[in-house]
């Protein structure tokens, strides 16, 4: 628990971060920047898990382990997404979502 800081303040920060990520996901057209927006959203969710764990249920560690697993899944997701992006760029010479309208090569 951070001294002098309530759970409301931490959750407010993470909520704003989440919706900044949502804004980026909707407004961007470039696949890599969309991936970055997704990472922002995942990160905000992680902060939420940790804050709830620390402030509300310090006797358990569930939030902590959920965050660990989310980080691992985010790493796997980023690796596969970037492989797909590189493959798309090799075939289409563009990574804008609007140019990616077919999955065959």
């Amino acid at each position: 628990m951070i001294e002098g800081i309530s759970i409301y303040q931490i959750i407010t920060v993470s909520t704003i971060m989440f919706f900044v990520g949502a804004y980026g996901f909707i407004s961007r057209k470039n696949l890599i920047t969309m991936l970055m927006a997704i990472e922002l959203m995942l990160n905000a969710v992680n902060i939420n898990f940790v804050a709830f764990n620390k402030y509300l249920h310090p006797e358990n560690m569930q939030g902590h382990f959920y965050s660990l697993f989310i980080i691992a899944i985010a790493a796997a997701e980023a690796a596969v997404a970037i492989a797909i992006i590189i493959n798309l760029y090799r075939n289409l010479h563009s990574i804008d979502v609007e140019d990616v309208n077919k999955m065959k090569h």
């Binding site: 409301y8 704003i16 900044v20």
Partner: protein
Amino acid sequence: METIIFYIISVIILVFSVLTVTTNKILRAAVYLLFTLVATAAFYFMMEYEFLAAVQLTVYAGGIVVLIIFSILLTHQINLNLEKIYPAKALIAGGSALIGLAVILLTIKDNSFTPSGLEKSDNSVNAIGRTLLSYGDGGYILPFEVISVLLLAAMIGAIVIAKKK
């Protein structure tokens, strides 16, 4: 003192996450994302989850950001400017994000979070490792193994998808 540090970290997180989604140089966006992730690790340090903070620094700041920067270098000229976002699109995206933000913040404000008030558990690396590999109640051996299979599958899949014909 801790309050001041918390506010400084919050400002860093918010400013750099906004810059991540609004800057029009793609490499800068990746660097701003790195700052955001490091500031998040500082949050975890402040909440005394040192192991999680270390994982955040190594996997997110060290791994994913480097992966993203590599993919930028493989697919773009570094100085390429991103296309301008159309005002109408920015308005729709910003409006829906603001509506969602308002709904969630109002819900949070009205909710009374009641702490359980119990003793805090042992969060040393030793205890974390034992819990991750324990078969008993509250053990995480099954998700741990599933994650390891998932990582292997993602690694093979990434190699197969990205390799040259």
